[in-house]
Amino acid sequence: MKLQEFTASAHNFEECMKCTICTAYCPVVPVNPRYPGPKQAGPDGERLRLKDPYFFNQALKYCLNCKRCEVVCPSGVKVADIIQSARIRYDHTPPRLRDRVLANTDFMGRLARPFAPIVNGVTSLGVTKTVLDVTFAIDRHRTFPKYSGRSFEGWLKRRAKEQAKFPKQVAYFHGCYANYNYPQLGKDFVKVMNALGIGVQLLEKEKCCGVALIANGMSQKAARNAGQNVQALQKAVDAGLTVLTTSSTCTMTLRDEYPELLKVDNASVRDSVILATRYIYQLIESGAAQLRFKENYRARIAYHMPCHLEKLGWGIFSYELLKMIPGVEFTLLDSNCCGISGTYGFKKENYEASQAIGKPLFDQIRSVNPDFVACDCETCKWQLEMSTGYTVKNPISILAEALED
């Protein structure tokens, strides 16, 4: 008899064997009893939603989209994608003002930049935090990311000529964080690339990757951003450039969320979007380039692998690079979610769960007591700095500071 050669379903939901390992590994399940867990919310719920959209469960909003369920799934089921797609498809509640503000990271960045010192001052006031908590449901414990008075884009544009002189070139998708909040990360990236003999270009037009828009129910706008970004990436790829990134979540969004959640085809550019640490590691490993580090550099570093980097499978490149720096005493922290998941942890209703999820990680950092923590994700950084008091640095910034002058 003829067997079916293969079976397929949307995000592989039908390939689920009900082994429930995703629920065992979900960071939300132990801390929030209202969340049905990835198996129930994902492949199980999907069959009911196909029967009638009325079976959509609002509790799906408690999913962090950390993708840990997808990493552990032995059957290749894209559990988090099923859940996020269901939210996109069935949840038609308009996003509240708070969620709009949190989600529009680039718009808020452009708005705040000219008044950065004032904005930073105001958002760090206790009274502002209380007002935001009460009127806006942004938890008062949260520290707002600071805005920079000058954007990274402006900085690099002024140096375009000098960058063009390098024989090898890459393009850089800097993301909202490096552009508006912490241009130093972008500058560090340029320093490291230049040390490798590579010049850095901006994309012709970069939009926010859209991850926060997806999480906050604004997927249409996210899809518009995605469309524009794919065009910009295409131009870079057509010019023979690899596009490097320093944010693990932007990277995952550009590569995986565009086709899976937003149905934006990125097949022609996907393989050219690479996290900088992976690119650098492979360059050094192949002997094509070298980095020279300070002889007296000393640091005790604990590395936290962001969930989305774990999903990409590229965390090893980041920490192997750090281990190459002489004088580094390295600890790889256990695989745990920090609990913030972008804008999720900023919301008052999620604050407690967010901190409970992160607790094992916070405790381990305290017991390791490093000089600082290394991590490729800016929102993990906010969470860990607020919750542990330790400074968190992107591996690229650590490479930059360890480079021989």
Binding site: M1, K2, L3, Q4, E5, F6, T7, A8, S9, F13, E14, E15, C16, M17, K18, C19, T20, P36, K39, Q40, P43, D44, G45, E46, R47, L48, L50, K51, D52, Y54, F55, N57, A59, S75
Partner: protein
Amino acid sequence: MKRNEYDVIIVGGGITGAGTARDCAMRGLRVLLIERHDIATGATGRNHGLLHSGARYAVTDQESASECIRENMILRQIASHCVDETDGFFITLPEDDLNYQAKFVESCLAAGINAEIVDPKEALRMEPSMNPDLIGAVKVPDGSVDPFRLCAANMLDAKLHGAQVLLYTEVTGFIKEGDRIQGIRTYNHQTHKSGEYYAPITVNAAGIWGQHIAELAGVKIGMFPAKGALLIFAHRVNGIVINRCRKPANADILVPGDTVCVIGTTSTKIPFEECDNVKVTPDEVNLLIEEGAKLAPALASTRILRAYAGVRPLVSADNDPSGRNISRGIVCLDHETRDGLKGFITITGGKLMTYRLMAEMATDLVCRKLAVDKACATAETPLPGSGGKSFREVAEKIWENPTTVQKAAVGRLGMAAERMQSSDSVSQSLVCECEEVSVGEINSAIERLDVNGLTDLRRRTRVGMGTCQGELCGCRAAGLLAKAHGCADRAREDLKDFMTERWKGMYPIGWGDALREAEYTQWVYKHVLGV
């Protein structure tokens, strides 16, 4: 009055028997229903679950078609919780004759079926899973109906009207006095006790097994056992029923029912002796996948949950080897006028769709014989659980903010979900995760719906009917049954039978994910639970 005396005894716990029991009980008769297994174990539970509009029969059998559409409209009213008003398409593919469409629509309209030609592109927009090569589409008021639920609701309502139901009780013979059937002899397969029950009229509603029952009574009916095989796919590929617009043939109906969809059927004549043990052959599976993929191409790569087969209870009329051209018409035999045997009626033929009409015809005859003058009211009286147009309407009638578990229960029980315990966390916790069946729903089924074992429970609640086929829910449900029946040994044996029965349906399609799942299930049961 003697012990065990009734006005009417009904043999057969399928939909015809259950419907007849309900009708008789509603007309004030004292009713006993006897079933040798569980409810809906024969053809009732082994079909598409298609709420026929009648369109399928319109060209070949106008009478059946108009019966269907009348009953279709009635069931939407009286059994809203068993019916999903999906509508249906009859599509013409390039290899089909488009001229058939005009004849088809004309015949539908003549039978009172609202058939409407839809532009193929528009049809494809309404039902994107359909074969995009289609050259014609006609929309008809098809739907899907859950036969287990429908049967259980009829049975429950019969009981609410005073009927008595004996399951797992087999008729072993008739008590005759001269040319009159006075009652039946029975054997109970659970208590292993024999019994005698008396009534002036016995109705043979045993479906294909009616031939055997008639023989026990000393009369002959020639049944035409025609096997039909079907495949269950693991989720709904389509939201609207898809049929082929041509003369009825193999595997040309795809029905979305509850969380799954079903393709079927085949039609093969089988010897009467095989009725109790029908198997799906590899050739049938091949044919169903191949023909099914012509209706909805996605079926070729969609996971299959199970294969099953039923036997159509057709009354043989001519020498047609396929059984397709035999009328699906209702046959109501008064053996007094036919064979000179008093007190014995056979109601057969027909189909799931026309069960209510069959019950009405049989009950009318029973009433005439008993000189009871009471009109049939089953067409206007809703079944327990019916009411409300949508899940949302029903769920929000019962609870202010229904939880997913409560919503899922409403999807199965309709208004009857109200009676289920669902306020505390234990009764809300899930037994079956694939179909979202809670402890409360299981307990309510055990209390109200004559559950003897896990397989009975499955027919009433969908426990074990989801993707995992009992992997996670079988042992949990067995625990609840052990508690309710106070016997763990019985539950353990029952669990073994249940899992074996689940495997039986997976065996014909044992490859890919279904095989992985079965293997995993085996680990869980053998190595983790030690069953």
